[in-house]
C-alpha cells in the first residue's frame, strides 16, 4: 500500500443472540453453542419455518427500533477504551439491510406515524444516530448492499482512513428481525426447517438472526501514539457482482472470486497467504455450494488446509450485521490464534473442497496471520475483507 496509512482495529463491540458483548459471542462460538430458538416475538403460524436467533429485547423508551438499540450498545462497547472518539476526523460507517423497515411498516399499517414518518423509514438514520451520540463530525455514511452491507461498511471505512478523510471510524452493521423479513425469506423457501448448518451435507436453509457488530478502525500511527491495544489490521476490501440473478448466486462464484481477488490485491497479499476464512456460510444449498466453488478456485489446492468457520449456525444470519460480526470474529481469531467450530456443522459432503472446523475449537499449527472474511447478498453483490495479525 506504499505510504498510505495502515488501518488497525482498536475496539470491537457485539450484540448477538449469544448474549451481550464480544465475550458472549466469542465464548459461545468457541463452545459451539447455537442461539437458534423457536420464535416467540411474533406469530409464525403462517410460515413454514419457526426458528430464529433473536435477542430478548424490546424497543427503547424513545421509540428507537431494535436495530438502533443493538447498534448503540455495540458501538458503546467498541468505543469503551476510546473516550476521546469524536470530532471532525471521526467517521461513522454503518451497513444495514433493513433499518427503518419497522417504522415504515408500522406507519403503513396504521398511518399514525405523524410528521417524520418518511424520516423514520430512512435507513440512513442509523449512522446519523451514532454520529450524534458519539460526536463524529467526519464522514458519516450508511451502506446497504443486503447481506454484504456490514463488510462493505468496514471496507469503506478503512478506505476513508487510507485516503485521509478520517483518522478513526466506527464501522459495522446492524439489523433486526421482523415478520416482514421472516415472511420474505420463508416465501423464497430459503429458511431452514430446523437450524442453519453451514457447509453441512444435510443443510436445508438459513436461519435468520439479528444483532449488531462494530469495530473501531484507526490510523495505525494514531493508535500507537495513544497506546491503544491493536487487535488486527484491516488490509483489504473488495466488492464484486455476480451479474447473474437477483436471489440465486452464480454457481461458479465468480462475483465472490472477483471480490476476494480485489481485496487481496488491495492488501498486497496472495491467495497463498490466507490462513483462515470466516465464510458467509448461510447454510442454503446454493450459497454454500457457490462459496465452496469460489474458495476452491481462489485458494486452489490449499483450500483443504485452510480452516473455515461459519458463524451463522451460532447466531443466525444477521443480514446487514453479518459481515461486521464476521470481521470481528476474524479479528479475534487473529488475536487469539484459535478457530471456533462451526455450530450446526457435523459432516461436509464427501467432495467438499473446504476444511470446515467442526465439533471443537482449533488451535492451528501454522500461525494465523491473514484472515479472509466473505459476504454474499441478494442482488448478486459480494464483499470480501482481508484482515492481518497485528
Amino acid at each position: 500500500m506504499g505510504t498510505l496509512p495502515r488501518v488497525v482495529v482498536t475496539g470491537i463491540g457485539a450484540e448477538t443472540a449469544l448474549g451481550h458483548g464480544v465475550s458472549a459471542l466469542w465464548e459461545g462460538a468457541l463452545l459451539g453453542l447455537s442461539a437458534i430458538r423457536p420464535v416467540t416475538r411474533f406469530d409464525t403460524r403462517r410460515f413454514h419455518a419457526r426458528q430464529a436467533a433473536l435477542i430478548d429485547r424490546e424497543r427503547g423508551p424513545d421509540g428507537a427500533e431494535l436495530e438502533t438499540l443493538f447498534a448503540r450498545d455495540a458501538a458503546v462497547e467498541a468505543l469503551a477504551s476510546c473516550p476521546d472518539f469524536g470530532g471532525g476526523r471521526a467517521g461513522i460507517a454503518v451497513g444495514t439491510t433493513l433499518a427503518g423497515n419497522g417504522a415504515l411498516t408500522e406507519w403503513l399499517a396504521e398511518r399514525t406515524g405523524g410528521a417524520g414518518a418518511l424520516s423514520r423509514g430512512d435507513p440512513g438514520a442509523l449512522s446519523r444516530d451514532l454520529a450524534r451520540r458519539h460526536g463524529a463530525r467526519g464522514p458519516v455514511s450508511t451502506v446497504s448492499v443486503a447481506c454484504a452491507s456490514g463488510a462493505a461498511a468496514v471496507g469503506i471505512a478503512a478506505e476513508w482512513i487510507r485516503e485521509g478523510r478520517a483518522t478513526w471510524v466506527l464501522a459495522g452493521g446492524a439489523d433486526a428481525i421482523s415478520p416482514f423479513v421472516f415472511s420474505g425469506f420463508d416465501a423464497l423457501r430459503a429458511l431452514s426447517m430446523s437450524v442453519a448448518r453451514p457447509f453441512d451435507v444435510a443443510r436445508d436453509g438459513l436461519t435468520l438472526g439479528e444483532g449488531a457488530g462494530f469495530l473501531l478502525l484507526e490510523e495505525e500511527d494514531q493508535a500507537g501514539r495513544r497506546g491503544a491495544s491493536i487487535l488486527a489490521r484491516v488490509a483489504g476490501y473488495g466488492s464484486g457482482s455476480d451479474a447473474h440473478h437477483m436471489t440465486r448466486p452464480d454457481p461458479e462464484g465468480r462475483g465472490l472470486r472477483r471480490a476476494v481477488e480485489t481485496a487481496l490485491l488491495q492488501a498486497g497479499r496472495a491467495a497463498s497467504d490466507v490462513d483462515f476464512v470466516s465464510a458467509h456460510g448461510t447454510g442454503t444449498t446454493f450459497n454454500d455450494a457457490m462459496e465452496e466453488a469460489a474458495l476452491a478456485h481462489v485458494l486452489g489446492a490449499r483450500a483443504r488446509t485452510v480452516p473455515v468457520n461459519g458463524i451463522k449456525g451460532a447466531i443466525g444470519h444477521t443480514l446487514g450485521a453479518a459481515g461486521a460480526l464476521e470481521a470481528i470474529l476474524s479479528a479475534l481469531v487473529l488475536a487469539r490464534q484459535r478457530v471456533p467450530p462451526t455450530a450446526g456443522h457435523a459432516k461436509s459432503r464427501p467432495d467438499s473442497p473446504l476444511w470446515v472446523v467442526s465439533g471443537a475449537p482449533l488451535s492451528p499449527e501454522r500461525p494465523i496471520a491473514v484472515a479472509l472474511s466473505t459476504s454474499s447478498a441478494f442482488g448478486g453483490t459480494n464483499a470480501a475483507l482481508i484482515l492481518e495479525r497485528a
Binding site: T96, G124, V143, R254, G379
Partner: protein
C-alpha cells in the same frame, strides 16, 4: 491515483418506458428500480460501450438513494398484512426489497461484474455514491463505474412527504416530491471516444468531501473552507467555482448565497441529477460549435447536498473544451 472523467450522463423521469429489450426486467422492478435502471442503462448505452459476453470485472455500479426500495417494501408489507399464509406472498416482490436491487439489475443487463455498492445516506447519498465511484476508478479498483442516483415515489411516500414537509416549516412550503433517476458513467480513460462531436468537452472529477455537522452555520463554514482549498489546489487555470446547491435549502445552509437550491425534493437523487442535467446541457451546447456558452478555459463546478440531519456531501468537477 488516476484521473477520473464523466463520459456520459442520463436522466429518467416518472412513468417512462424503457428499451424493448429491458421490458421483462422492468416489469419485476419497483418504481425505484425502474427509475434507477432506466437512467443507468441510458448513460451506459449512450456512451456506446457494448455489453461484454462475460461479466466485466473492471466495470461496476455504485448507487445512491435515500429511500431505495421503499416502494417494494410497501408492497410486500401490504401483501403480508393481507396474507393468510406465506403462499399468498410474492417472492419476486420480496426479492426487490433490497436497496441494491438497481445494482443487481444493471449488472445483469450491462454485464458489469465489478464493484457493487449502494449508499443510503439520506439526501447526500447520490453525491456520496459519485465520490465512491470516482474513488473506485481513481484507485484502479475499476476502469468504468456507472453511478446511479434514484428515488422512486409511490402514493404512500407522497402522503408521508406531506407530513414531513409540514414538519420542516415554512421554508419547505410548496416543495414537491419528484421521482428521479440520474446517472453518470465514470471512466479512467482521458479521451472521449465519441468522435462525432465537433467540439470535445472534458469533465473531470476533481474532489469530493463528506462530513457531518448538525449546525448549519458551522457546516457552511466547513464547506466553504473546503472549497477554498479545492480552488487553491486547482491552480491558475481555474476560475472560482460556481456552487450549485442541489437540494432545497431549508436551513439557510449557504447563508448569503444567491443560489437557494431547487424547489423540488429529489432526496438522494438530487446531486447526481443536477450534474447529469448539466452534463447533458453542455453536451448539447458542444454539438453546436458556435455556441456562445462553450468556455475555452477550465472552469470549476461545485455541487453540494445537505441532509436536514446534518450530513453534507459535495463534489467539484472541472470542465473544459479542447
Amino acid at each position: 491515483m488516476r484521473p477520473v472523467f464523466i463520459v456520459s450522463a442520463a436522466l429518467a423521469a416518472e412513468a417512462e418506458n424503457g428499451a424493448p429489450e429491458d421490458a421483462n426486467r422492468l416489469r419485476r422492478m419497483d418504481r425505484f428500480g425502474r427509475t434507477g435502471f432506466l437512467a443507468g442503462t441510458r448513460a451506459f448505452r449512450a456512451w456506446g460501450a457494448p455489453r461484454p459476453p462475460e461479466p466485466d470485472a473492471r466495470g461496476g455500479v455504485v448507487v445512491g438513494t435515500r429511500h431505495g426500495c421503499r416502494p417494494a417494501i410497501t408492497e410486500h408489507a401490504a401483501r403480508l398484512a393481507a396474507a393468510a399464509r406465506v403462499e399468498d406472498l410474492a417472492p419476486s416482490v420480496f426479492a426487490a426489497t433490497v436497496h441494491n436491487s438497481v445494482n443487481g439489475e444493471l449488472a445483469m443487463a450491462l454485464g458489469l461484474g465489478g464493484v457493487s455498492e449502494t449508499i443510503v445516506s439520506g439526501r447526500t447519498a447520490g453525491l456520496e455514491a459519485l465520490i465512491l465511484g470516482a474513488r473506485r476508478v481513481a484507485s484502479s479498483d475499476a476502469d468504468r463505474v456507472l453511478v446511479v442516483a434514484a428515488e422512486g415515489v409511490d402514493d404512500a411516500m407522497r402522503e408521508a412527504w406531506g407530513e414531513e414537509r409540514s414538519a420542516l416549516g415554512p421554508s419547505a412550503a410548496g416543495v414537491e416530491l419528484v421521482e428521479t433517476g440520474a446517472s453518470v458513467l465514470l471512466e479512467a480513460r482521458e479521451i472521449s471516444s465519441n468522435r462525432e462531436e465537433k467540439k470535445q468537452e472534458r469533465i473531470r472529477f476533481v474532489e469530493g468531501c463528506l462530513f457531518f455537522e448538525p449546525d448549519a452555520r458551522r457546516a457552511s463554514a466547513r464547506f466553504f473552507e473546503w472549497m477554498d482549498g479545492v480552488e487553491a489546489r486547482a491552480g491558475g487555470n481555474a476560475r472560482s467555482a460556481a456552487v450549485s446547491p442541489c437540494v432545497p435549502d431549508y436551513e439557510d445552509f449557504l447563508e448569503g448565497s444567491k443560489e437557494r437550491g431547487p424547489r423540488v425534493e429529489r432526496f438522494g437523487a438530487a446531486g447526481v441529477f443536477e450534474i447529469a442535467r448539466e452534463v447533458a446541457d453542455r453536451r448539447a451546447q458542444a454539438a453546436n460549435a458556435l455556441s456562445p456558452h462553450s468556455p475555452s478555459k477550465k472552469i470549476l463546478l461545485a455541487y453540494v447536498t445537505r441532509d436536514t440531519t446534518g450530513a453534507v456531501a459535495a463534489v467539484v468537477l472541472e470542465s473544459w473544451y479542447f
